[in-house]
Amino acid sequence: MPPDPFAAIKEPPVGAQEQTTAEQKVAGLEGWAPAALDVESWLPPQRSEAVEEQVDEQVDEQVEAPSPPANSPPRMANERWLVTADLASLVVIGGLMFLNIANTGGDLRLALAVLFVTCVPGWALVRATSLSAGLGGAAIAVLASLTISAATSTAMVWLNAWHPLGLVAVLAALSAVAILWTLPPSFVALRARR
């Protein structure tokens, strides 16, 4: 995994005093350190009733697991999911390319094509840019995949260069390279934490 260049977001203190609008602007922005490259953490904190529940949660965390270390089980679980998703993406790429070259597959090929167009190029992109954690990362992967797929296929149509297998080969190769670039460090980190 490439090193996180940013510190984690500091959420505004739960019991913060009310401030004037001008102060809020400054404090609000200053309170937010640059985002860790994790879209989950870019989301704003919940407020009001949400804040109450957050308070509960923070208290729970303080009592149950004060300041979880980097190799804590949740983090490891997250890492495990990422590695699993990486491996699954590589399986989809390999399977789809094989079935396309063999020109066979039926329902399996259809399912792999859905997974590829919906997830794989975007997943490779978010992994390469370390945006992959949590629901936000998954959402961006899906959306980036659809955008990339639609944009590139339309470009082929407009350029009168219709090579559908060529496009899937290029996207698959780029995705595989991006995933393989991030996979070994993640894998090693996971093994080391175990």
Binding site: T21, W32, W42, E57, L143, L146, V157
Partner: protein
């Protein structure tokens, strides 16, 4: 402004929470309880129900008469199970996600599993465009409007090749499930960015599924563009949210005070400060996705622009020039398509809002009792979700939370009816684009403010049950029309494979799987997105058609081509029956007249479709 003390943690409450935490916060297996049996039970009931669906029983009231009791029981159990998942003291993401997926399948997979072909006759012309691109590898701007907005179809053609399919027929029925699931992913991200509490957020997702009666999620560019639009909005709300301008804060304070609420002036929700690199990456992603929306669908980019504009004006979205760039992208693309739109009189622009909200094909009071009931169900469902949204906005406002963004995004799509008619479908698009935010505010109205109570559970249960019941009628109420028979599609395929190129196909009425072939461009398509039809031309309505009408049909052919065909199908007869456009038997009588005429000969006939060919040149 009312001064509020800083939030404090009541120790007693914290202690209680701590005691509960080990039970409720652990992973799913450790926390399994009796209510967790409800979801598998709902799935089992649903499977039993689906296997018992009798499509022969579909009638004027739609699919409901064809659905067996276990299907309804599964929906009741699913609703109870979802409420039980909401009632937990801590958010269980796995449980709630499974429930949302289950409700999408329960409502949207019914057609995919029980109908022999994808529903809606008008979806097949989309297959034709994708097949055309797959065959030629290019588009011809002169053919029709779809080839001028080819983003979705190019993706479809590429996907078909990738998946080893000759056309989308095999998987198109599952597209609504796919589209809804991905749209929910984007909507969830938006709602998180709005800091909607978790119960209200998951409830909003359920409400979105239970109120989405407009059926705009089938294999079509607008469905794809809707998903991408929600994505762009989610990205904007997550990454470019800013504190509102002071004037809007003062305005909201006054409105809140007027509503006798407690205006709590807390830190505004803002996005994190992005580095220059992050900012550029995010902007490129947003603009690229917006560009894909722009060349995929005619109307959707303007929906996004209006929504982004509503956020930008009070300063909730910064930098404001994001909207200007979007306008530039959409405008630049529109300019390149202007010539086609002008020559085909297909501008879709209309500045008459009253006309734009009308469906030109049918008014609410038209049709048989079942159709009228469907229209009432759809309107009631819309009224309920919009009414609850209003209550939710007031409730959230009175609790001191800003409602600027959800209310602004809820009302933004309505602005589009002042500028676009979209063939009478603009109002459906308005409903669809406002639904995520209406659902969010409705969920705020229904969800408990702080602690879960039985009353809240009952309130949510009643609301969701009512919504689901109305949805079944509103969404499946026209199943009799939407059902496409394999023999009708076979007739359509035969026509495009064997008919004389350059000729025109005249339809007796709407509801035919037209243009579902890569060769559709070989025939006259200058009539717009649909082939020309007799019905609903007023000259032919509400009477028995016969030999006297044959010269008029020939005249209609002559408008387009010297050679032509005329099609009558079972689907058309049902359409005319449901909307009471013709007396029952009218098209059969016309069929007999054509059969007896020496100027017409049968080109193709099966049990559900007949296509006549004009023997003598028109």
């Amino acid at each position: 402004m009312i001064q509020v003390p800083p939030l404090a943690v009541p120790r007693s409450r914290a202690a209680t929470s701590t005691e509960q935490a080990p039970v409720t916060r652990r992973s799913l297996p450790g926390g399994l309880g009796p209510f967790d049996a409800l979801l598998p039970l709902a799935v089992i009931l649903w499977v039993i129900g689906i296997t018992g669906v009798q499509t022969d029983a579909i009638n004027d009231f739609g699919l409901i008469p064809a659905l067996p009791p276990p299907f309804f029981a599964s929906l009741v159990v699913l609703t109870v199970s979802f409420i039980a998942a909401l009632a937990r003291s801590r958010q269980s993401t796995v449980r709630l996600t499974l429930h949302i997926i289950a409700v999408v399948f329960a409502l949207q997979a019914v057609v995919a599993l029980t109908f022999p072909l994808p529903q809606y006759g008008y979806v097949y012309k989309h297959f034709g465009v994708a097949e055309y691109i797959g065959l030629h590898g290019s588009v011809d701007d002169r053919v029709d409007i779809y080839q001028n907005w080819p983003g979705f179809f190019a993706l479809g053609a590429w996907f078909d090749r990738l998946a080893g399919q000759s056309n989308p027929l095999r998987y198109a029925a599952w597209v609504p499930v796919y589209i809804d699931l991905i749209a929910l992913l984007a909507i969830n991200l938006s709602l998180r960015a709005l800091a909607i509490p978790w119960r209200a957020r998951w409830l909003a997702l359920y409400i979105f599924v239970a109120c989405n009666w407009v059926g705009q999620d089938y294999y079509a560019p607008q469905a794809f563009a809707f998903v991408l639009s929600q994505t762009v909005l989610a990205c904007l709300l997550t990454l470019f949210r800013a504190a509102p301008s002071p004037w809007i804060g003062r305005l909201e304070e006054r409105v809140t005070n007027f509503a006798h609420g407690v205006y709590v002036k807390t830190a505004p929700l803002v996005s994190p400060v992005l580095t220059r690199r992050q900012r550029i990456t995010a902007l490129v992603a947003v603009f690229t996705t917006f560009a894909v929306i722009t060349f995929s669908h005619q109307l959707s980019p303007y929906m996004v622009i209006v929504a982004a504009g509503v956020l930008a004006v009070p300063g909730l979205l910064r930098p404001r020039w994001i909207v200007a760039v979007m306008v530039l992208i959409a405008g630049a693309y529109l300019v390149t398509r202007l010539q086609f739109l002008q020559t085909h009189e297909d501008l879709l622009i209309s500045f008459n809002p009253f006309k734009n909200v009308e469906n030109p094909e049918a008014s609410p009071g038209d049709g048989v009792l079942g159709r009228q009931l469907t229209a009432v169900a759809a309107r009631t469902l819309s009224g309920i979700v919009w009414g609850l949204a209003l209550v939710g906005a007031i409730r959230r406002s009175r609790a001191g939370m800003s409602v600027l963004v959800p209310v602004g995004l809820f009302f933004a799509p309505f602005l589009i009816i002042f500028g676009q008619e979209y063939g009478g479908e603009a109002i459906y698009r308005v409903f669809l684009f406002s639904l995520p935010w209406a659902a969010a505010l409705a969920a705020v109205a229904l969800a408990p403010a702080v602690r879960w109570t039985w009353f809240a559970g009952a309130r949510i249960g009643i609301a969701l049950s009512l919504m689901t019941l109305l949805l079944l009628q509103a969404y499946f109420g026209l199943a009799e029309i939407n059902f496409v028979r394999p023999s009708e599609f076979t007739a359509s395929e035969y026509f495009y494979a064997h008919a004389r190129p350059g000729s025109v196909l005249i339809l007796a009425a709407p509801n035919y799987p037209e243009r579902g072939s890569a060769y559709y461009d070989r025939f006259v398509v200058t009539s717009g997105a649909f082939d020309p039809k007799l019905i609903p031309d007023k000259a032919f309505l509400h009477r028995i058609l016969g030999a006297d009408d044959l010269p008029a049909i020939e005249g209609l052919i002559k408008v387009y081509s010297p050679h032509g065909y005329f099609a009558i199908t079972t689907g058309m007869k049902i359409y005319c029956h449901v909307f009471e456009l013709l007396p029952d038997g009218s098209l059969d009588h016309l069929d007999q007249a054509l059969s007896a005429s020496k100027r017409w000969k049968v080109f193709y006939r099966n049990e559900d479709a007949v296509i006549y060919e004009l023997a003598a040149p028109a």
